[in-house]
Symmetry: C2
Subunit: 400 residues, 2 copies
C-alpha cells in the first residue's frame, strides 16, 4: 500500500516515540525534519490564553526556512508561567542542536494537560533519541501520528496526490483531535507536509482557505483550546517550476489541500470524545454568510440536539430552538428544516413525515441537517457530533 | 407550617390537575385566579422563535387588570403554525368564559414538547374542571406547582414576607426548571404572586431587576427556550397605601422579590436535569460588567468545566481556557483563579495548593469559582451546574 503518512511527500524524515511524559508509557514525542529546509505556513488558536509553545512557534514561523518541528503530547505547557516559556524555547534549542540548524528554524507544538510544568529531563533525552531515529518510512510517519494522540482512539492520517506540470505532487497530514474542538480556532494539532514548489505567500493563502473550509467547520464541544496549531511544510522537491501566482496549478493545489483537511476533519469528528455519530449542518437562506455560520454552529453545539442525535431521535424542535436563540437573523414564518432529504418543518409549520424514516436518518453514522432561515441567500455549513454518556465519563474521570 | 405556595398572598385562588396532555397522567394544567383583578408584570424569552403562548401572553400583559393565568405542561405549543396561535387564543377565551372576565385579561404559558398541536379537547375539559376547583389553600398552590413540572423531580416554591407601612406583605412564587435554561432569557416558566399595593411601572421595574440578578444568572446548558415566561401578579390587598415612588418601601419590596427569585433559581439549579452539584462563578477585574457576565457564563457553560465538577476534579486549567476563549478581555499575565478561598492560579502562574483540599471543595454540593481577569474593576456572577451522564440519558432517551 502506498505511504499514507506525512513521510509520503519527498524530503521529510520523521520520528515518534514514548519519552516518558505520559504515565501510560504511550508515545508522546515527535520530530519532523526537512534536510533541505522547508517553506512553512501555520495558523493558531484565537484563545487569549495560549500555550508557551504557541507563543514561541508564532515567532519561529516568520523564518524563511524551517528545518524541523518538535511536538509533544501529554502536557500542554499552558498556564505554566515564565518557566513554561523557557521550556518551550529549550525544546527548540535542543532539537536545533540535534539537527544542526538554528532554534528559530524549529517549529513547536504541545498538547495535553494544562498548568503542569513540562518534565524537561525526559523531554531532553527524548529529543536526543528522536533525532537519531528519523526515517522517511510509512512506519515512522505512523509513529509520529501516534505520538501526538491524547484521548484519540486511533491515529489519523490522510494523503492527496496531484499532478503539477507533469510532476507528481503529494500532500499528507496527520491530526490529533478528540475533545476541545470548537469554532474560531485553527484546529487541534495538525501537521501537514508536501513537496509542492510554491511561494510562502501562496502557501499561507492555501492553508487558511483549506482550514477555514474544513477543520474550522468542525465543532465537538464548542471549546477552543489554548494550544490549537496547524502547520504546513513544503520541501518544494516535486521538480516543477515554483508556483508564484494564483493560476490553475495553485487552484489544483488549494483544492487538494482542502480535500486533505476535510478528510482529517471527518476523521476527527468520527473519533471525537465519546462520539458515536457525526452530522453536517447546512444553513441556507441566511442574510449573510456570517449569520449562516453562526446558525450552523448554534445547532452543532446545542447539547439538546447532540443528545437527540445520540438517541437517534429526530427532535427537529430542538434544531429550530437552537437556530432561533442564535444571533443569526431568522424569519420564523419561513423557517424550514430537513433531515437528509426529508422535510420535517416547512415555512414555520410542522410537516407531515414518516417518523420511522426520520429516526432511521438520524440513527445513521452521518446525516445532514439543513435549515433554511428564510431571510436571504447566504449559506454555510459545519460538522458536529453527538453528545454521549461516554463524553461525560471521559471528561469527568480525567483527573488533574 | 405557614403556606409556602402562591396562594400565600391575599387574593389568589389556584388549581392544578391532570387533564390528559401528558401520557403519564401527571398534572399538566393550572389556573391562577385573582377575583379583584391584578396588576401584572412579565418578561419573556428573547429566542426569535417563540411559542404561540408567548405571542398571545405578550399582548395580554398590556391589559391594566389581569384576572387569571392559565398554564399547561406537556406541550409547548411552539412551531405549531396558525393552529397553535388559534389554540393559544382559545385557551384564554375558555378560561375567561369560566371566570367571567375578558380573554385579554387572561395570561398564558405553555411548556413541553415542540412541534405538536395542543390536544384541545382535553385542555377544554381541563380548564372547565380547573375553574371549579379554585382554592386559596396551600394544597391548591402545590397542585399548581406540580402542574407546571416537566422533567423537574420536585415542585419548587418560595415565599418572602415583609412589612410595608406596618402591614404584612407576602411574596410567593413557583417555577419549573430542569433543562434548557440559559442566559439572555427571562427564565423557564415562573409564576409569582404578591399582595403588595404598587404601581404597574414599579412592579415592572422590580421584576426585571429581580430576574436579572437571579433567574437570568442561572445556566444549565446555555439553552434558551422558546417558551420562557415569568409572570408577577399583585392583588394589592395588603392594606397599605399604594407605593408609586422608588422610596424605601419600594426598595424593601425589590429586595424581597430578588431574594424570592434567587431562592427559586437555586432550587432550579439543584434540580437541573441530571445535576448533582451546582457552582457559582464570580468574575472580578473585568473591563466592563458585560465582560464580567460573558466570562462568568463562558465558565458555567463550558462542558469540560461542568464535567470536571461532576467528577469532583479541581481542573482549573479548563476554567482559564474557558475565560480565555470568551469574548471578554483578559490579561493573561494577571489572570487569577480561586476555588472557594483557595488560590489555584495567580497572576498567570500556577499556585501551590493542596490538591486534596481542592478536590474536597469541588466535591461539595455548592462551591464558588472566582476568576479575576486582571483588566479592570467590573464584576458579575452566574450559577452553573455539573454535566452528568444522567443529563445525556434524559435528553437522548426523551423521544419525540
Amino acid at each position: 500500500m502506498a505511504n499514507q503518512s506525512i513521510t509520503a511527500p519527498r524530503g521529510f524524515q520523521v520520528a515518534g516515540l514514548p519519552c516518558g511524559i505520559k504515565r501510560s508509557g504511550k508515545p508522546d514525542l515527535g520530530v519532523i525534519f526537512c534536510a533541505t529546509g522547508a517553506r512553512s505556513a501555520a495558523v493558531f488558536t484565537t484563545n487569549q490564553v495560549v500555550s508557551a509553545a504557541v507563543e514561541v512557534c508564532r515567532e519561529h514561523t516568520r523564518s524563511a526556512r524551517v528545518y524541523a518541528v518538535v511536538a509533544n503530547s501529554g502536557n500542554a505547557n499552558t498556564c505554566t508561567g515564565k518557566q513554561g516559556f523557557k521550556d518551550a524555547v529549550a525544546m527548540c534549542r535542543l532539537t536545533a542542536q540535534g539537527l544542526a540548524c538554528e532554534p528559530h528554524q524549529v517549529l513547536l507544538a504541545s498538547t495535553g494537560i494544562i498548568g503542569h510544568p513540562l518534565p524537561m529531563p525526559v523531554i531532553t533525552a527524548g529529543i536526543a533519541q528522536a533525532v537519531t531515529r528519523l526515517s522517511d518510512t510509512a512506519r515512522a510517519g505512523l509513529d509520529f501520528a501516534k505520538a501526538i494522540m491524547t484521548t484519540d482512539t486511533r491515529p489519523k492520517q490522510a494523503v492527496q496526490r496531484i499532478k503539477i506540470a507533469g510532476k507528481d505532487v503529494t500532500l499528507a497530514g496527520t491530526v490529533k483531535g478528540a475533545g476541545m474542538i470548537g469554532p474560531n480556532m485553527a484546529t487541534t494539532l495538525c501537521f501537514m507536509t508536501t513537496d509542492m514548489a510554491i511561494s510562502k505567500s501562496l502557501l499561507n493563502r492555501a492553508l487558511s482557505q483549506a482550514i477555514g473550509n474544513s477543520l474550522n467547520k468542525l465543532t465537538v464541544d464548542g471549546h477552543q483550546s489554548t494550544n490549537d496549531t496547524a502547520i504546513l511544510l513544503t520541501s518544494g522537491l516535486a521538480g516543477h517550476p515554483t508556483v508564484t501566482r494564483q493560476d490553475a496549478n495553485f487552484a489544483r493545489f488549494a483544492r487538494a489541500l482542502e480535500a486533505l483537511c476535510d478528510d482529517l476533519a471527518r476523521q476527527m469528528a468520527l473519533d471525537a470524545e465519546g462520539a458515536t455519530r457525526m452530522f453536517k449542518v447546512v444553513v441556507t437562506g441566511a442574510a449573510t454568510q456570517t449569520d449562516a455560520a453562526i446558525a450552523a454552529r448554534a445547532v452543532a453545539n446545542y447539547d439538546l440536539v447532540k443528545c437527540a442525535v445520540n438517541g437517534g431521535d429526530p427532535n427537529w424542535g430542538r434544531i429550530i430552538c437552537a437556530v432561533g436563540s442564535s444571533r443569526a437573523r431568522v424569519n420564523p414564518d419561513k423557517l424550514t428544516c430537513k433531515l437528509d432529504k426529508l422535510t420535517v418543518f416547512r415555512n414555520g409549520q410542522p410537516a407531515r413525515f414518516d417518523v420511522k424514516q426520520a429516526s432511521r436518518i438520524v440513527s445513521q453514522t452521518e446525516h445532514t441537517i439543513t435549515v433554511d432561515l428564510g431571510v436571504g441567500k447566504a449559506t454555510d455549513f459545519c460538522y458536529g457530533v453527538d453528545l454521549s454518556r461516554e463524553y461525560v465519563t471521559i471528561n469527568a474521570d480525567y483527573h488533574t
